[in-house]
C-alpha cells in the first residue's frame, strides 16, 4: 500500500463502525483529504486525541481504495485555550465548517490556506481581540483566496467612490456595495415591474442596508495592514459591538449566498455571544 506524508489541520470528523472515525483534514500538501482513523474511539487509542477537530498533526497516510488510512499521527498544535472559551471555540468550528465547504475550491492555494487557517486559529485562541472581529478578518481572507472579495470602496453599478452619505446597500448577488442613487433607481424599477427582480437585475432579497459605522468595520477588517488586535473583546463599547455584529451578518450572509447553504455553526455563535 502506497504511503505519503502530510501536515494537516482536522476540520471535521464523524464516526465509522464500532470504533473508527473518518477525519476531514486540510493538508498543506494535498488540500482537503478524508482519511480513516482506525480505533480512534477506543479509550486506549494512540490516535484518539489527534483525530479531534482543530488539531494540527504531521501525518503518515496510506492510500486506500476509497479512503486513505491514517497510519501515524504526530501532534504539532492543539490550541488548548480554545477549549475554555465557548464563543472562541464556536468561531474556530465555524472556520472548520467553512474549510470543509470551500476547501475543494482552494486546491491551488493549499499551502497558503493551510498557513492562513493555522494563524487564524492561533489568533482566536491566543489574542485578546474581539472574536467577532477576528471572525470578520478570517472571512475576508477566505473570500480573497477564493476570488470573491467584495467591492467596498466603489459603487458596483455606477463605479463612483463611496462616502458616508452615499451608502445604499450591500448586494449579495453582485458582491459589493450599491450607492444610494443606484439603490433608489433599482427599487423604482422593482416597483414598476411588480416582481422580485427588476429589469436591471436589482433584487430586494439579496440587498442589505448598510450604515457608515458598519461600512467602516468592513473596510477596516478587509485591510490586512490594520493590526489584528484593533478591537479588544473586553473594552469595546456596546454601540461598536452592535455595528460589528451587523458588519459580520452582512459578510456571513454574502458567504452563505456564495456557498448556497446555511453554515450551521453560525447558529450557535449567535446563541453563545448572547450569554
Amino acid at each position: 500500500m502506497a504511503t505519503y506524508s502530510a501536515t494537516g489541520i482536522n476540520v471535521g470528523s464523524f464516526n465509522l463502525g464500532e470504533s473508527d472515525k473518518i477525519v476531514t483534514i486540510f493538508t498543506a500538501e494535498r488540500g482537503l483529504v478524508r482519511a480513516v482513523a482506525k480505533g480512534a474511539r477506543k479509550p486506549g487509542s494512540k490516535i484518539a486525541g489527534r483525530a479531534e477537530p482543530l488539531n494540527v498533526n504531521k501525518l503518515l497516510l496510506s492510500t486506500g481504495r476509497s479512503l486513505d488510512i491514517i497510519s501515524q499521527a504526530e501532534g504539532i498544535e492543539t490550541f488548548p485555550k480554545l477549549r475554555s472559551d465557548l464563543v472562541r471555540l464556536s468561531y474556530a468550528l465555524y472556520y472548520a465548517e467553512l474549510t470543509q465547504h470551500f476547501g475543494p475550491g482552494l486546491a491551488e492555494e493549499n499551502e497558503v490556506y493551510f498557513d492562513f487557517l493555522r494563524d487564524a486559529l492561533r489568533r482566536q485562541a491566543e489574542q485578546d481581540a474581539d472574536p467577532a472581529w477576528l471572525g470578520l478578518r478570517f472571512e475576508f481572507g477566505l473570500l480573497d483566496l477564493l476570488g470573491y472579495r467584495p467591492e467596498l470602496t466603489y459603487c458596483i453599478i455606477c463605479r463612483k467612490p463611496l462616502m458616508d452619505a452615499s451608502l445604499g446597500a450591500f448586494h449579495q448577488d453582485w458582491g459589493g456595495i450599491v450607492c444610494k442613487v443606484c439603490m433608489n433607481n433599482g427599487q423604482n424599477d422593482l416597483a414598476q415591474s411588480g416582481d422580485n427582480h427588476s429589469p436591471s437585475g436589482f433584487t430586494i432579497r439579496t440587498a442589505r442596508e448598510i450604515t457608515p459605522l458598519v461600512w467602516r468595520h468592513l473596510i477596516l477588517a478587509a485591510d490586512e495592514k490594520i493590526p489584528g488586535n484593533h478591537l479588544s473583546g473586553k473594552t469595546a463599547k456596546p454601540s461598536i459591538k452592535q455595528s460589528l455584529t451587523a458588519a459580520r451578518r452582512i459578510l456571513q450572509g454574502y458567504i452563505e449566498h456564495r456557498a448556497g447553504k446555511h453554515m450551521k455553526s453560525l447558529d450557535l455563535v449567535a446563541d453563545f455571544e448572547d450569554l
Binding site: 486506549g44 479531534e52 492543539t78
Partner: protein, 198 residues
C-alpha cells in the same frame, strides 16, 4: 436483484442499522433464514416489545421500561448528587464500575456546532429544573473530552455555577495500559493538571 422480494426487504432493513453495510446485511438476513421459526419469532417480539415498552425516564432521561426508572426509584441512591452523561450507554458504563451511588441525568446528546445541534435540543432545561427543585449539592459532569464535550461542559458550567452548587468534571488522563510516549499534548497537560498525591 437476485434476491426474492421478502429477503431483499429484510436485507434493506438491516442496512439501516448503524455500521451495517450490504455484505453484513446479507449475512444477517441469511442467518435469520437459517434460524428456527421459534427463534425468529422470539427475536421479532423482543424488538417490538423493547420499542413499545422502553421509554425515557421522565426524571433522568435514561432508557427504562418503568417511569421513574429503576435508579431514580431506588431509596439507596444519593439524591444530592447528579452525574450528567451524554447518552444512556455512558450511564451504563459508569454503572459497571459500581463506584457511583448518586443519581444521573442523561442529556441525550452533546452540543455540536458543526451539526447545528444546540442546547435547546438536549435535556438541559430539565436538568436546571431538577437542580432548582431538588436539594442537589453537587453536579458531576461525566462528559467525553471531545470538542463537542468541552463545548457542552462550558455551557452547562455557565448555567449551573450561578445556582451556587458544586460543579465538577471527571478527571482526564492516561488510560489504564496506555503508553505515556504516545499520549497527545492535551491528554498529557490535563493529566498533569489533575495529578494527585499518592
Amino acid at each position: 436483484m437476485h434476491f426474492t422480494r421478502p429477503l431483499a426487504k429484510l436485507i434493506e432493513e438491516f442496512q439501516k442499522f448503524p455500521g451495517v453495510g450490504p455484505k453484513s446485511a446479507q449475512r444477517m438476513a441469511f442467518h435469520i433464514l437459517s434460524l428456527s421459526s421459534e427463534n425468529v419469532h422470539g427475536l421479532a417480539s423482543a424488538i417490538v416489545d423493547a420499542k413499545d415498552r422502553v421509554k425515557h425516564c421522565s426524571r433522568c432521561f435514561h432508557y427504562s421500561a418503568q417511569d421513574p426508572c429503576e435508579i431514580c426509584a431506588s431509596d439507596r441512591r444519593d439524591r444530592h448528587t447528579i452525574c450528567v452523561v451524554a447518552e444512556p450507554r455512558d450511564l451504563i458504563a459508569l454503572e459497571r464500575t459500581r463506584e457511583y451511588k448518586g443519581s444521573y441525568h442523561v442529556l441525550t446528546g452533546l452540543i455540536s456546532p458543526m451539526e447545528g445541534k444546540g442546547p435547546e435540543q438536549l435535556s438541559i432545561r430539565e436538568l436546571i429544573h431538577r437542580v432548582d427543585s431538588e436539594e442537589v449539592k453537587e453536579v458531576i459532569l461525566a462528559i467525553s473530552p471531545t470538542v463537542e464535550g468541552d463545548a457542552t461542559v462550558l455551557y452547562l458550567n455557565h448555567l449551573l455555577k450561578p445556582l451556587g452548587i458544586k460543579v465538577t468534571r471527571i478527571a482526564f488522563g492516561l488510560p489504564v495500559g496506555g503508553d505515556l510516549e504516545y499520549a497527545d499534548d492535551v491528554t498529557l497537560s490535563r493529566a498533569m493538571e489533575g495529578r494527585r498525591e499518592i
